[in-house]
Amino acid sequence: MLARQNHSTPLQWLGRQLFNRDDASAFFDPLLARINPMWVQEYTPARVQRIIRDTSDTQTFVLKPARRWQGFAAGQHVNICVEIDGVRHHRTFSLSSSTTLWHDEGLVTLTIKRLPGGRVTNWLHDQLKSGAVVGLSEAFGDFLIPEPVRPILFIAGGSGITPILSQLKTMAVHGFRAPVTLLYFVRDHDHAIAGEHLQNLAALHDLLTVKIVASQGGSEPRYLTQSDLNEITDLGCRDIFLCGPQGLMALAGELLDAKGVSRDKIHSTYFSAPQTDLDSEDLGGKVRFARSNLDVDSTGDAPLLEIAEAAGLTPQHGCRMGICHQCSCRKTSGTVVNRLTGQASGPGEDTIQLCISIPQGPVSLDI
């Protein structure tokens, strides 16, 4: 995903002849990186301009991507690539800034929460300093503000606020032309990301209502309830955007269902790979890694990436959750189940993502 997409031109043909690689300009990267890391061609570099502390466990990284970066729409995410102890890691984060900040100042922000035990988020918090350069993918995702603008209800939990933050900031620049309500669930008010900023936005814009709910504030945990939804005027004609932990998403889904809100009005995005319930009875099977001349048996719902790694192979990989496609490879035969959709593939040749594909019977791969 971080590799830039190239179309074939005579110049690229020549590049391949001369440098034996598809990205001829990246041949010079090792030298360019020494002179100025922002000149690297293999991926889009972005310099950390500033780091802002939001809450005890959340920081906002202000990035200046190389000018060739193609921009984004509010609500989209990017993969970032960082090197930790010699190993490249990729992770997906939502952009939290308005699109205007990019257009006017060439800046974007990522608001990142420290995950307990997380290798990358902790490294970003503790080691990444301003001035450093990280790799940035083009933005992707379809968690987008409806056009033309319609009334919206946002339901966010924890760090799920980040794509919504970008949407609210972007809408604020253009002025709210329809009622927008945000229900934001946080552990306690200290953990509200950009809480003050959101309240200020609400004070400035009559059509925006912000309600920040501390779930652990009282003696009883306080979750999303039917009455929260009852307070929303004209709920039926609103577009609803959900982003947050699985529990909140599931609860919101149920409550909205009960209110008879149609599914196609609901947009959601995830921070961890959603997993459909797979019947692990018929999963697993003999996996043949043809190019490595290796056969291994797998049982249960282990994805092919983990099976390959357990067998001592080191296929290329990125996000490990089905987003970045860096682990895509050829399946030459056999059936795999996609852990995100629960869908089984056909039995023939196919390009599959190793990190979310689970063998169903014997599978043969070209790695």
Partner: protein
Amino acid sequence: MKQMTEAQLTELEQDLNAIRNDVLADLGERDARYIRRVVRLHRTLEVGGRVLMPFGFIPPVFVAATVALGLSKIIENMEIGHNVMHGQYDWMNDPSLHSQTYEWDTACSSDSWRRTHNYEHHTYTNIIGKDRDYGYAVLRLSDDEPWRPRHSLQFINYILLSTFFQWGVGLHELETERLHRREITLRSKLPFLKEFFRKGGRQAFKDYVFFPLLTFPVAPIVLAGNIGANLIRNLWSSTVIFCGHFTQDAETFTEEECWGDGKNESKGHWYLRQLSGSSNFTGGRWVHLLSGHLSFQMEHHVFPDLPAHRYPEISDRVREVCAKHGIHYNTGSFARQYGTVLKRIAAFSLPDRLRARLPALDVA
């Protein structure tokens, strides 16, 4: 090969695994920095060589440009390409240093190399009839192959093979000897030949057409320099590689030894075979870099996927393991090891009876 009991082989396996695990646990920043530095050196030499070459009408510049380009090809093939394709840096998760996608600067396509070298040679090291790297189907290097009159000229074949080494390696997968014996058909090799012509064509186009034409008035000089650079790389790589398995004390094996009586070769036995069939040579830091650390061929053959720059620092431990198990740690100066290679090539060009009468040529 030294006879060892299953228990001894298991102990050998454990001793070597311990070294391997120590290195694996320690991989990180230092290794990434090392390979990136070598890649930078390669790029600098290649860019420098190509830029200087058109000014090669000044003799010292011609020499400098040719040597720089030659060295760049040596470093790219030996320390970067060969080692990256063994998966030594896969753990870095860097697509430009990944074994399955790396394409190197030589006529042999990386896919073909992964099949013939990483798989065939490293699995069947020095097993006569299985390891086609042993003599490259051109040379007779042991008694296992009966003498034929054509072997008497094999020194000429050796010189030709060294001179055109990249093309020899590129065509290795064609298995001409099996085509000759009609065990396989040319038709079955068409996909390979297509791949060979594409990759080989690309290499020839770059060095012998594109860069000379680009510098038109001085095209002959650039052409000569590029030929020189390829020649330097060919002679050096072939020499280094010949020192790996064809020295005096590097042993050969039979299929029977490894898989006879329906037995399956154990990992310990595989380790023993790798150690007994390979040989090192000594030298300075530059010799190791330019040989892609194949100067530590024994370490490379037991740990082909550990970053090669780690071989010098584990060589003492490997030597101790060899001493403990009574395995010959085959090393010596470059000149000495290469001398025994030449002697082997010469000795086996003679019929066995004649060779027996010339004690100077006794290598077996």
